[in-house]
């Protein structure tokens, strides 16, 4: 098994241990998982965005050959032993629609049959009568008086409201030399993991076993326990390898449906979503971002006011808290004395939305980084210059009112500048095209509070096993944790192994998301390694009749200080002590954060540390067609210490490539309240031909001896769209306020005489 040729020679990467099965295709996904007597489920979905369910007739479906069970929302509502509602932050989503449907694509009924085909054939026999109701798709429309109400108990379609104030924003704007107001819009989009959501559940009298493609097996476990009133040991959740997730599998999603199906049919049931159903299961928040920025004559930002409206879709998922996460990221990585942000999530009759790689941040960065280049141009400043002038640096007070430390934006900006300076193109080959470059930087908190527990088990044969519920979704969590544990223990990675999460055997972890695992689980592993060393020292001390502080454990070897005993291996100590194994335990826990604050008065520490990243792009715009070709794309992030140079680069470039889609062409189209493009023919994701040949990446690392680890999974992504938008602006003077930056929009911009809003002029005395 090789290592990446791009690894730094002084620090060889530990490659993913299952590389061969990954490329051959034998690595196990839930899709490949079968158990005895396994049946299959298919789901009937609502064609209407908002409709009362008048009646559901399942008689004919139930009589079809091979059918084991047919379930509807009212079956679940009538079942005293099931709570039919679930949700990560608010249990507002029925497993199957009860009484009414709130979005087109919502599950209404399901069939369990011996084969997937039999289930699909029975599905069309279900007869549902609907009474259509007025619906709302747009997040801003949903807040207007008279808009259709999605949930009766949430008037005004308010799914969550947050407020942040620093200084006096109105006073700051009044003092400003110039004030700029723009409204930016990001459309709904979809994560499109290549592996659809898949879940296998087996319900027995003893409880339920679940194999699922999920980023947070413990969130699935606690959610199911609650719904079915099961004891702690009554739900066992195993997450196998994930075929991509990007946030789409971060919360309990299809698992309740599959557990209900198994419970009703009395056999294990697997459900694998078809591609259109993945589009109907979770999406990215559309968002409307109004941003008003006041600047002094020299370009320093004196005040920023933002109104952010996220589209939550029909059910809350993580939107109530997500709007708060967005709140703290909204002002951008700048030192601004007066800030006012209102961030809300609106219920609408659309697919529920949740974290989308770079969660809640891409929509904001598109706004503040686009506007900053407009301001620079208006004041005759350079994009780099205005950023350096306003940059948030260690010790500066951020919008949350706390002084932030460990900021590295100067390094990130320097890196973006040098990336763009490389190979400066001498001339544009085609007079019908124009070239330009742009850049953007972002700030993002990580999920706080959160908890990660880890165990490191040493057995009598010397084998070391990591017990961790970090999910492997291709980011290399397994290899990273093995690499970290081996380092903390002072042994080779060949001595260490790590399995996949299983809530019966691996300890609690909040979630594998928010770029938190390397930091949080890494911290827990370090504690576990220390604990393992302590336990081995104590065992050796007992054997040798010395105190444990006279014993040294190093690199898997144990000795008494001063050499009274010959050095032995630690498995030898276990053997002598008659122990089969010793387990060291470690915990990471953060206790503060947004969820502990008043949503209408957010201030104080909201993150254990801050994610920092950026992107730079060079584009060529075809002046006749408006088509944008990205010639070069550079992505960077602050990594603290990169555990694997190869995997950090994969995350950075993965962000850049993933970001190309929503920047240039990805958009879920709604017509008459339903998505018209829920397939990979009409909803395009970047192919290898969309990716610039010149792709580069930098991980900025700390010069400290033992720096804090930083997650790197999504830092560059939110910067991609504004970097490209700024490059288009630099090339053509066209400023686009709506994503994606399609040829049609660019061409309309080129054809329009006036492309930017005239700034409101204040007195010139400042």
């Amino acid at each position: 098994m090789g290592t990446s040729p791009r690894s730094r020679p002084d620090r060889p990467d530990f490659a993913m241990p299952d590389a061969v099965s990954r490329v051959r295709g034998t690595v196990e996904f839930v899709l490949d998982k079968t158990v005895e007597n396994m049946a299959h489920a298919k789901v009937l979905r609502s064609p209407h965005p908002h409709a009362r369910i008048v009646s559901v007739d399942t008689t004919a479906a139930a009589e079809r050959p091979g059918v084991l069970a047919v379930l509807t929302g009212s079956d679940l509502a009538d079942d005293p032993d099931v709570d039919p509602y679930f949700g990560a932050q608010r249990p507002d989503q029925p497993v199957l629609a009860i009484g009414k449907t709130r979005y087109a694509g919502e599950p209404v009924a399901l069939v369990v049959a011996t084969t997937a085909r039999a289930a699909a054939e029975a599905l069309v026999e279900i007869d549902v009568e609907y009474e259509e109701q007025p619906y709302v798709v747009d997040e801003v429309e949903a807040r207007k008086p008279g808009a259709p109400t999605v949930h009766e108990d949430h008037p005004g379609n308010d799914c969550g409201s947050w407020r942040l104030r620093l200084g006096d924003c109105e006073k700051g704007l009044a003092q400003a030399h110039r004030v700029y107001t723009h409204t930016y819009h990001s459309p709904p989009a979809s994560h499109v993991p290549m592996e659809p959501h898949v879940c296998l559940a087996s319900w027995t009298d003893d409880g339920v076993e679940v194999w699922t493609s999920a980023q947070a097996p413990y969130a699935v476990k606690t959610g199911l326990q609650k719904m079915f009133s099961l004891p702690d040991g009554g739900v066992r959740v195993r997450a196998l390898n994930l075929g991509g997730a990007y946030g789409a599998k971060g919360q309990i999603r299809i698992e309740p449906m599959v557990v209900c199906a198994s419970r009703a049919a009395g056999v294990p049931v697997r459900l694998e979503l078809a591609r259109d159903e993945v589009f109907f299961t979770i999406g990215k928040h559309a968002a409307t971002v109004e941003i008003t920025t006041g600047v002094m004559r020299d370009g320093s930002i004196v005040a920023r006011k933002m109104n952010v409206v996220y589209n939550a879709g029909a059910y809350a998922v993580t939107s109530p808290g997500g709007a708060g996460q967005g709140l703290t990221r909204a002002p951008g990585p700048y030192r601004i004395p007066n800030v006012a942000v209102d961030s809300v999530a609106s219920y609408t009759n659309t697919v529920p939305t949740g974290p989308f790689r770079g969660a809640m941040t891409s929509q904001l960065a598109f706004a503040y980084e686009s506007q900053l280049d407009d301001i620079a141009a208006d004041l005759g400043l350079e994009p780099l210059g205005i950023r350096r002038q306003n940059l948030l640096r260690s010790g500066d007070v951020y919008a949350t009112g706390e002084a932030l430390e460990g900021l590295h934006y100067d390094d990130l900006l320097d890196d973006l500048e040098s990336a763009l300076a490389v190979d400066e193109p001498a001339t544009v080959p085609d007079p019908g095209k124009k070239r330009g470059s742009g850049l953007a930087i972002i700030i993002k908190n990580t999920l706080t509070p959160s908890r990660s527990e880890a165990g490191i088990r040493l057995d009598a044969s010397g084998r070391i096993s990591i017990l961790s519920s970090s999910v492997e979704m291709g980011q290399g969590a397994t290899a990273t944790m093995m690499s970290l544990a081996a380092g903390y223990l002072g042994v080779g990675t060949d001595k260490v192994q790590m399995g996949l999460p299983d809530t019966r055997h691996t300890p609690f972890d909040t979630t594998t998301s928010s770029s938190r695992s390397t930091y949080s689980m890494g911290f827990a592993l370090r504690e576990a390694a220390t604990d393992l060393h302590r336990r081995v020292r104590e065992e050796a001390a007992k054997l040798w009749d010395v105190t444990s502080d006279q014993v040294t454990v190093e690199g898997g070897c144990v000795r008494v200080n001063g050499g009274a005993q010959a050095e032995v291996s630690w498995e030898h100590v276990l053997g002598q002590a008659g122990l089969e194994e010793v387990v060291g335990q470690g915990v990471f826990q953060s206790d503060f954060g947004l969820s502990k604050m008043d949503p209408h008065d957010v201030h104080g520490p909201v993150s254990v540390h801050w994610h920092q990243g950026g992107a730079a792009a060079e584009v060529e715009v075809d002046l006749q067609t408006g088509r944008v070709e990205v010639l070069r794309l550079h992505a960077n992030c602050y990594a603290g210490r990169a555990v694997s140079a190869h995997r950090v680069r994969q995350q950075n470039l993965g962000c850049a490539i993933f970001g190309l889609g929503p920047s240039l062409f990805e958009e879920l189209e709604y017509l008459d309240g339903a998505i018209t493009n829920p397939n990979l023919s009409d909803y395009m994701i970047p192919s290898i031909l969309d990716v610039p040949v010149a792709m580069t990446s930098t991980a900025v690392e700390s010069s400290e001896a033992d720096p804090e680890l930083h997650g790197v999974g999504e830092m560059a992504l939110p910067a991609v769209a504004p970097a490209i938008a700024n490059a288009i602006f630099a090339a053509t003077g066209v400023r686009l306020l709506d994503l994606p930056l399609t040829p049609e929009r660019v061409l309309r911009g080129l054809l329009a005489a006036e492309t930017t809003t005239e700034p409101e002029e204040h007195s010139d005395e400042h």
Partner: protein, 163 residues
């Protein structure tokens, strides 16, 4: 809707060569090759992601040419040579050139799409009509989508294979 009158598609026994060995399967006329390979032949490397022949996750080689097994009928494979990613390297300790290049370059993340990428790369390298250049093989891979964005590592693997 009347269900009794529906005519069920015919089920037939048919044979093809899978990774060098003769296989006989039972297939309905509307069964896709993907469902047969996964359901009856123990293949895991071909996977459905889009279901409409767009994304390449279900790629197999039929008589050496790439095919989307999610939209190819099993009946169309009768008598032909079908190769899956497993079949390129029957022994995991003796990797084919393409598998080896992907491993050495770390050209995978979640890996759902990677077997299809491997097969398409292999087919391009063996197709006399495809020039042996990175650019030509890059174009050949346009029908294989990777959401993790492992494309740069895949291109590095291809560069390795061409030198």
């Amino acid at each position: 809707m009347s269900t009794e009158q529906r005519t069920e598609p015919e089920t037939t026994r048919l044979s093809f060569t899978l990774n060098g060995a003769e296989r006989t399967v039972e297939a309905r006329t509307d069964d896709t090759l993907l469902s047969t390979l996964r359901g009856q032949c123990g293949v895991t490397s071909a996977r459905e992601a889009c279901g409409i022949g767009i994304c390449g996750s279900c790629t197999v080689l039929v008589d050496g040419a790439v095919a989307s097994s999610c939209i190819m009928l099993t009946a169309q494979a009768a008598g032909r040579q079908v190769t899956t990613s497993e079949g390129l390297s029957p022994d995991p300790h003796q990797l084919s050139a393409v598998h080896d290049a992907f491993v050495r370059n770390g050209a995978f993340q979640c890996s759902f799409c990677i077997p299809g990428m491997v097969l398409a790369t292999h087919a391009a390298l063996h197709d006399p009509s495809v020039p042996n250049t990175v650019e030509a093989i890059r174009s050949y891979l346009a029908g294989n989508l990777c959401r993790c964005g492992s494309y740069p590592d895949i291109l590095a693997a291809i560069e390795d294979l061409l030198t």
